[in-house]
Symmetry: C2
Subunit: 357 residues, 2 copies
Amino acid sequence: MTYARENIEQMHGYTPGEQPLGDHVIKLNTNENPWPPSPQVMAALRDISAETLRRYPSPSAAHFLAQAAALHQLTPEQLVASNGGDELLRLALTTFVTPGAPIAVTEPTYSLYPVLAAIHDSPVMSAELDAAWDLPVDFAERMNAAAVALTLLVNPHAPSGRLLSASQISTLASTLNGVLLVDEAYVDFVDPGHDVVSLIHKHDNLLILRTLSKGYSLAGLRLGYGIGSTSLLAPIKEKTRDSYNVDAIAERLGAAALADQDSARQTWHAVRAERERLTKALRERGFHVIDSQTNFCLAWVPAEARITAGELYAGLKERDILVRHFATPRLSDAIRISIGTPAQTDGLLANLDELLA
Amino acid sequence: MTYARENIEQMHGYTPGEQPLGDHVIKLNTNENPWPPSPQVMAALRDISAETLRRYPSPSAAHFLAQAAALHQLTPEQLVASNGGDELLRLALTTFVTPGAPIAVTEPTYSLYPVLAAIHDSPVMSAELDAAWDLPVDFAERMNAAAVALTLLVNPHAPSGRLLSASQISTLASTLNGVLLVDEAYVDFVDPGHDVVSLIHKHDNLLILRTLSKGYSLAGLRLGYGIGSTSLLAPIKEKTRDSYNVDAIAERLGAAALADQDSARQTWHAVRAERERLTKALRERGFHVIDSQTNFCLAWVPAEARITAGELYAGLKERDILVRHFATPRLSDAIRISIGTPAQTDGLLANLDELLA
């Protein structure tokens, strides 16, 4: 017999991108930063003592929060650490959404959001992005009319790579009656000048998600954090997160990563340069590519190619090159390619040329 | 204004034990193992590469599960890894309990359980342990009558340290209609011969929680795991746990810890010996002490002492010795003391003697 709740029985779980073993694969499928983490992170790792492992960590990851507060010119009360960004997404539902009440997302979006809603037994109010991949103009009004308590918005957007400006985010936060979670998983790769963090002083319903997985090359560490007003974060910090949700190693390595901004910025700069090169090279080959502000490109296979996007994905995989293909209506003719090193881009392009020939 | 759900607004969060900074404190308040983790764990830590941090970890913590499967003579499908045991507790509610439906606990019990129920918006059916700290004989029948879908039972019990036998657990699992989660956080310190794991082949509603925090001296790492039938664990593994819930470092260090059973067993043996010495020494001083099968003792302050348990806790704290005091009806006259090193026991006893004089 089954003991699971009915909604759990009926839902489908999240499908993570493939995580191949071995180093021979050109892995451009899960949006890792292609460059290694800061040497300061590795030094902090070597400094972890047996005593640090033996004892419980700081319940709030205090050392990491202090470093994040310094970086963003905030107080630790305006920050919360989480076991990867994914934990913060779940905590937002747990804290702000009564099970059964709807959450809002765009279509398409990060495919984990509807899974989290299904676990929470909440319906998803989904608003299709327009032909230019922009939000419908009446998005906030529609969500308010549906009494949505939480809107999950990934910005820059996945999988298109497009960016809503800070002023668009501000208008949304003003208009929405519920909490607006802006998932900034990819924000470090945005061209300089974009800033949403300062909006938390203006909007007490704005929750910003950051992760060290991409910008700081620490996907293996599972460390994210939330930024918001003290009143918005208090119930997460004091009540709904698991006790000791961030381990002692992540606390210390995360602090070391944030402290070494120069090292991280060099990788962001390199990713932007490679993103430009890949976009240009794909367009030269007839792909339709959206201008991306992330560390991936969404690219539509040329109409004249005698190969579908699904076949291209499979052909690349046979050649030990992993990209991502989503078999969903609007995305089925495209592949999503994480930005790699120049050598990885070269390898990808050479194999694309062979497969398209 | 507040955006939190009403049940979150009204509940109180979990209060973790104090985590003092600095090494001068004799810390006997949160049940850490007083002995360091295995040298193999530290060697595995030194081997973590930048590439391991850069990439996403195994979604299922496959390497750790393989090691746990070998240890318990099970398959990886009968195991699930979690971000500390606390995550598995939450996942049990998420997976098996419809919000609003009751869960069952004993009174007293691990103080996190009612907090998790409050977050889930589920009432708690609480059955008071009898004068001998045993379960009421009609416990399962009462919980079935209340349509309880999940029973949370810590065994050996916290904070008394008493152990229900495997045959008692088996009878409970047979009788309960819902899932029985047996929280074996302290099981490594039980005198040899106790085995509940083999019962999962008989009871498909039995979920066993293990943690590396205590037995393997890795509280700072946040790694626990669940043991149960394949059908019971499948929805947790495939649907309700966060994607990548265990980081790459915990996966590898946890595997190294389980692989070095000799090292861990030495600490369990040392803790048992010190538990016996502390129990005897406290009884000689007039304390009532329950026979403990854990790495802590629950000790009632002698009736003739001119100091309350709360005052004793505070007096010890002033002397940089941390123990735990629960200001709840049945426990308010006792202090809970984690088993430390012989030197820590000596320090505790000397200070107790001064405070009781």
